[in-house]
Each structure stands twice: as C-alpha cells, then as structure tokens.
C-alpha cells in the first residue's frame, strides 16, 4: 500500500469482472447439465444444449480463467518488477475491451455464429477482437518487465512471458479461416489437417492458459502466503523449459485412433507420458516449500486452497498421460470420463488457485481485512465437495458406459445397443447436477464474502500487510 504509484484500481476491476464471468460460467454449466437430464429445458432456437455448452466453456476459460490471469498478472508484474504498470491507459482499454469481447462472444454464440472448433468457437470478428486484446495485454506486461527495478526475473515472470507468446501463436494459427460473410467463415484447413491443427491448439490452450498462468500465480502466492521462499528456483526453471518444450508435441493425444497419421499419435503419446516429469517438478517444488510449514495447512485457509490446488494439478497430470495412452484412450475416449478429467483441472486446480489469489489480493488492493475467514473455509469445503461429486460420479459413468460399449456376446456381437448404455448415464448426470449446485453455492458464498469485505471489511492495519492471510 505504501507505494501509491502501483495501479491497483485496474486489479480491482479485473477481479470484479472475472468473478462476474465466473458466476455466469457456472450458472450456464448448471443449466446445460440440467438440459442433459431434462431435454424439455431446451428452448429453441437460442437456449438449446448445442448453443449453450460453448458459452459455458468459453465463459469459464476466457471470462473467469483469463479474467483472473489479467487481474493477477497485472498485480504480480508490478510487485515483482517493483515498478508501476507501463501504461495505465492501455490497461484501462484492456479492461473494457475484455468485457466487450466476452459479451460479444456470448451474444454471437447464442445467435449460432460458431466455428464449432472447441475452445475456439467464436467467429472471425471476435477472433480479431481477441487478438487486439491479447496484444494490449502483452505490450503492457512486457514493457513493465523491461523497465523493472530488479534485475533477476522470478519464475512467475517466466511463465507469464511463455503464456503470452504461446497463446498468441496458438490462437492466430488456429484462427486462420476464409470468411464467407460477417459471421460465417470456413477453416483454412480441411479434414484431418484441421483436426490436427485444432488439437495442437486445444491441448496447448490447456498448457498456456490453464497451466502456465496458474503456475505463475502459484509460485507467487504460495511463498507470499506462507512467508517462506519456494523450495528451489532452479528446479522451477528446469521444469519450465521442459514443460514448454514437451507440451507442444502432445496435441494428437486427443485424436488417438482417428485418421491422423500414426506417427503423430505415437509422438503425442510418448511426450504426454514424459510430461509427468516437468508437471511433477512444480508439484514437488510446492510440497517441498511446505517443509516445516505444514502446520499452516490448519492455520491458514489460503495455504489450504493453494496446496489442494497443486494436488489436483498433480492428479490431473497423472491422469492426463494415462488417457493419452492408446489402449486406455480406446476405452474412455468419447465418454463422460473426459469431462470429469476436465473439471478436476478447471474446478480443482485452476479455480482453487484463483480463489486463493483473489483472497490474497483483496486486502492489498482494497486495504480491508477479509470479512469472514469462516465463510472462506465454508466455501473451501463446498467447492471441494461439489467438485469431487462432479468428477467421481462421471468417472464411474465413463467407465460404466465404456464397459457397456465394449461388452460382447459369445457370438461376437455387441451386448448393448447405444440407447441401453445411454440410459444408464442418467443417475450419474443427476449426481453431476447436484455436485454443480453445491459448487455454485460455494461460489455464491465467495461472492458474498468479497462483497462484505469490500463494503464492510475492517480497514487494514498497515504493519500486518505482509503477513495477512494467516488466520
């Protein structure tokens, strides 16, 4: 708080908007999960499952996920560089352009303007907006780093830079298309090529938007919260280079057994398994940083969020490589197992880290103590239980359906028709609705807690600033 030149106003705005989009994403998620069990809840033409599902995923990844990335990066970069933001005006532009882009995406997707490419559904005019947005963000971060006061760059800055570059390359290549009209374009690539480009993009969107940035956040907020440095900076660097090298080879693990050339699939499979090493490099770095500090798990709710978050990251990066193995993929691909994997990553890893980051930021950007730590703990349990119900029920569902799809009679014919396997899914889909509602309740508690902090929280005593977070 002492250094008034730091731009916290922009961080406050991004926190607010990312939380709003997060609520939208979860709400639409609950709606589509209900549509899967109760098809009468489809209201054509706009409110059908096929049009709403991409709104859920994009609001989640780009509204909530990237919104938090903007908020935290703009904060972290100023602190680590010990210098104010390069341009406050550009940051302000970024904020409003971000919201304009998200709103434009939601509206056009509802109207059915979509490319159908997963996580890249928005049509080309929105792609242009996203590119402008990203460039504005990139300039501000890079320029701030260039004029930094501290020569050495902490690992979080490395991950930020890699994410900025990575997203830029991935997004523009996958966006290539020939417009037929303002809201209809045809991919520049056809068939198998298009599939390969799309999943090179798709999987590395996971790397550059849902892995590198949360790692940057984790590496910053964990030591800040516990008050002790990370275990090894050099380990984090080794993991960094290996991670950004290996990820790019793995896209085709989404395309195992498809017409994509076998050698690409095999490379993807091999590199996916190798990815365990750099992923767990970060996980171990996190755990070992807790040496002698494990008591903080009980005393400090932020540590709980962060350590659970990195644990889910660890589980995610064991499960992912497993799914990338041909034989295992043959079994669970196309089933509900995969959404369960996704949601351990998004609800468990990305969101846990995001919640912790925001709880850490709030006192510093508003100068008020968090309104209620018991509520923060309640939220922790609600989102944890909600996510576990969600994922576990759909892992079971996925294995069940995969088993039924593969079941054979002694005469070599299939035991079950498609519908016989599909009706078995309903109880699990209902369990998901239930888990989703619990998670949403957790989110509502979060928003209430934030609102009360901002409007009624006790002003912060200055000297506690550096140890805030410890209950």
């Amino acid at each position: 708080m002492e250094n008034r030149a730091y731009n916290y106003a922009i961080v406050r705005s991004f926190v607010t908007w990312s939380v709003i989009w997060g609520l939208v994403a979860v709400l639409v998620g609950v709606i589509v999960s209900l549509q899967m069990v109760e098809p009468d809840l489809n209201f054509p033409p706009y409110l059908t499952f096929g049009r709403l599902r991409p709104i859920h995923t994009n609001a989640g990844i780009y509204g909530w996920g990237v919104g938090v990335i903007f908020a935290t990066f703009l904060y972290i970069v100023q602190r680590l560089c010990k210098t104010p933001l390069w341009s406050d005006k550009l940051a302000k532009f970024q904020l409003w352009f971000f919201n304009a882009t998200i709103i434009a995406s939601a509206v056009t997707l509802l109207l059915g303007y979509t490319t159908s490419k997963e996580y890249h559904e928005m049509e080309w005019p929105i792609d242009v907006m996203i590119v402008i947005l990203w460039v504005a963000f990139a300039i501000n971060i890079v320029m701030t780093i260039l004029k930094r006061k501290d020569e050495q760059m902490y690992i979080s800055l490395w991950y930020m830079l890699a994410a900025i570059i990575g997203v830029a390359i991935l997004f523009t290549v996958n966006a290539a298309a020939v417009p037929a009209s303002l809201f209809k374009s045809y991919s520049a690539y056809a068939g198998t090529n298009d599939a390969n480009v799309e999943w090179w993009f798709g999987h590395n969107a996971v790397a550059m938007a849902l892995t590198a940035p949360p790692l940057a956040m984790f590496y910053y907020f964990l030591p800040k919260t516990t008050g002790v440095p990370i275990y090894s900076h050099r380990l984090s660097i080794t993991a960094f280079w290996s991670l950004i090298f290996m990820y790019l080879w793995t896209g085709a693990h989404h395309l195992l057994w498809t017409p994509v050339p076998d050698w690409i699939q095999t490379l993807a499979m091999g590199f996916s398994v190798m990815l365990i090493a750099p992923s767990w490099g970060s996980v171990f770095n996190g755990y070992l940083s807790m040496n002698g500090q494990w008591h903080q798990m009980r005393e400090n709710y932020l540590v709980k969020y962060l350590i659970l978050g990195i644990t889910f990251y660890g589980l995610q990066t064991l499960q992912g490589p497993m799914q990338a193995i041909r034989t295992f993929s043959a079994f669970i691909h196309y089933t509900d197992w995969v959404p369960a994997h996704i949601h351990m990553g998004t609800m468990g890893w990305v969101s846990m880290i995001s919640f912790a980051s925001i709880y850490f930021l709030i006192p510093r950007i508003y100068g008020r103590e968090v309104y209620s730590i018991p509520l923060a703990n309640l939220q922790f349990w609600l989102i944890l239980v909600g996510q576990l119900i969600w994922s576990i029920s759909l892992w079971i569902a996925g294995v069940l359906q995969a088993g039924m799809w593969n079941a054979m009679n002694p005469d070599g014919s299939l035991t079950y028709t498609f519908m016989e396997t599909m009706v078995e899914m309903y109880p699990y889909w209902w369990a998901r609705v239930f888990g989703g509602l619990i998670y949403m309740a957790g989110l509502v508690v979060f928003i209430y807690n934030l609102y009360m902090t901002v409007s009624k929280g006790k002003p912060l005593a200055t000297q506690t600033a550096s140890v805030e977070g410890r209950a």
């Binding site: 549509q35 098809p39 489809n42 054509p44 059908t48 096929g50 599902r53 991409p54 303007y113 979509t114 490319t115 159908s116 260039l146 020569e151 050495q152 760059m153 800055l157 490395w158 830079l161 890699a162 570059i165 990575g166 390359i169 290549v173 037929a180 209809k184 991919s187 690539y189 056809a190 068939g191 198998t192 090529n193 298009d194 599939a195 390969n196 090179w200 660097i237 950004i244 790019l248 080879w249 057994w257 498809t258 017409p259 994509v260 490379l267 590199f271 196309y334 089933t335 959404p339 799809w405 593969n406 054979m408 009679n409 005469d411 299939l414 035991t415 028709t417 498609f418 519908m419 599909m422």
Partner: protein, 291 residues
C-alpha cells in the same frame, strides 16, 4: 543470461515452442490430404448438403455427436467401417467431435429413410423415448436463402449448377439437414462391402415356444422396431408387419442384414440371439395365447 534478459527469454521460449509445433503440426501437411489420401468417389458437398452441414455447426450438434469411427472392434460393429483420412478432404471445419452423448454419425448416410429423420428431428423422444436430444422441428419453419448458399459454395470452391441453386427455393433448413445426414459416410460403398455374412445353418432356436415366453421380448420390439413399424406392428415409416408371410430364415435375414435400399436398417449388432427372438415375436406373438 536469459534470467536477466526478458527479450532473450521470449526469443528462446518461442524457439522451444516452435520445435514441437513444426514437427507435429506443420510437417504433417506434407502427407495429409495429398494424393496418397485420395479416395475415389469422395465428392464435395452439394449446395443443399453443405447448407445442412452449416446448420449442424450452427446448432452445435457436434457437442453431442462424433463423426469418426475408430478401427476398434466395438466401434466398427456398432457404427460401420472405420473412418479414413481421404473421406474428410472437403470438411471445413472437421466435425469429429470429442464426446458421444449421442451415437457417432460418421456412417449415418443410408441407415434410415428420410421420413425417419424428419420425424426424429421433429421429436427425438417420439422415436426413442429416453433420448435427451433437443427437438429441432422448428428448422422446418426456416426457408433457405439460395443467394447466401451460392455465395458459400463459391467461397468453398465447390462445384454447383444454377438448377441446383434454383432448386433450393422453397426448401427448408430441415430439408438441408436431412440431405446432409444422408450424405454422411456414404461416399465409399462400405455398406455393400460389409453385407453381413450369416455363417452356419439358420435354425430357429426358439421354434414353438409359447406366448408367455415371448412376452418379455416385446421390450426388444418396442425399443428397436416400434418407431418404424408401429407399436402394434401396424406400420408407420416401415410397412405393417405380417410376419406369417415369411419363413423364419428369411425373416432372420431381413432383420439381421436389413434392406439397404428400402430403408430397413441392419440389426446384426443386436446379435443372433436377440434377432431370433424378434423373428419369433414378429411372426407368432400376434397370434395370441391360443398359439
């Protein structure tokens, strides 16, 4: 070195990212969709089919349906011949999907008669009671715009004729969707090639069973056949079933292999046992208790 020089770090990181990118993403363009992949008989979409495809994309059908059959026993038995790269050269974008909430559609063309699709799209649950597919009857209310479609065909560089474009007048989005459904996966003659071979003697294992034994088999009929032949075999999309017209073995063949040109699907994936049950059910059940 790069620990202190952000620009150098950016350059190095970009280089590192590009290695895997070039090898697994750029390089394949040298092989994929080249002459080696070409399959005789794979044609671009007609204007009507392409418009159906665009509507499929608009409605996000790909969120529930995949369009690629894997070379795995269970996939091939359930859906048909596995997908080949050359079949997709006109697909912009690809629509393989990632989740099978509904069945794969890669080999759908020719599986059902048009009438089945119109009714199914109108109300999936009227045909398949437990389906969670949304109703799409409203597509019938939307007229196609030939001008727009012509422009799309030009953008794609697909061949079309003036008559073809003229013929779009008065057609609806539903017509386009059904035309697209019927084109899916039918560019290669896999159905003829795969004409199911029935091995061994055909002897009815349930010959002469009583009415009571057959009662539970009604479920099989209702699930698989009622949508087309009616709840009481009175005929809807398919004809009224008067099983007595056929010998057991002939009936078995009809159900097992289907009548491809007539719109009667093959039910070989039910397995011989269930097909025999259906044969008996269709032929004898309506004769009542006395039989």
């Amino acid at each position: 070195m790069w620990e202190k020089k952000p620009v150098l770090l950016i350059v190095l990181a970009t280089g590192v990212i590009l290695i895997g990118t070039i090898i697994t993403m750029v390089l394949p363009f040298a092989w994929v969709n080249t002459e080696a992949d070409r399959i005789e008989g794979v044609k671009p979409y007609s204007a009507l089919q392409q418009e159906g495809r665009d509507i499929y994309i608009r409605e996000g059908c790909n969120n529930c349906h995949t369009q690629t059959v894997r070379p795995l026993v269970s996939d091939v038995l359930r859906y048909g011949d596995y997908s080949k790269s050359g079949e997709f050269v006109y697909d912009r974008p690809f629509l393989w999907g990632s989740k099978r909430t509904g069945p794969d559609l890669a080999r759908l063309g020719g599986k059902y008669p048009d009438a089945w699709h119109y009714q199914h799209m109108e109300s999936p649950r009227a045909m398949v009671p437990k389906s969670n597919m949304p109703d799409y009857g409203w597509l019938s209310a939307n007229q196609l715009d030939p001008q727009v479609i012509q422009h799309k065909m030009e953008t794609l560089g697909f061949p079309f004729t003036a008559e073809e474009i003229n013929a779009l007048k008065g057609k609806t989005e539903m017509d386009a969707m059904v035309a697209y459904m019927q084109k899916l996966g039918s560019d290669i003659p896999w159905r003829q090639n795969a004409k199911t071979e029935i091995v061994g003697d055909l002897t009815n294992p349930y010959a002469g069973v009583g009415h009571a034994t057959m009662e539970p088999w009604e479920e099989l009929y209702q699930q698989n056949c009622a949508a087309c032949h009616g709840e009481h075999m009175e005929g809807v999309i398919g004809p009224e079933l008067i099983g007595g017209d056929y010998d057991d073995e002939v009936l078995f063949e009809i159900i097992y292999t289907g009548i491809a040109d007539g719109g009667m699907p093959s039910f070989s994936n039910l397995g011989t046992d269930k097909v025999w049950k259906l044969v008996n059910f269709v032929k004898y059940y309506h004769l009542g208790e006395g039989h």
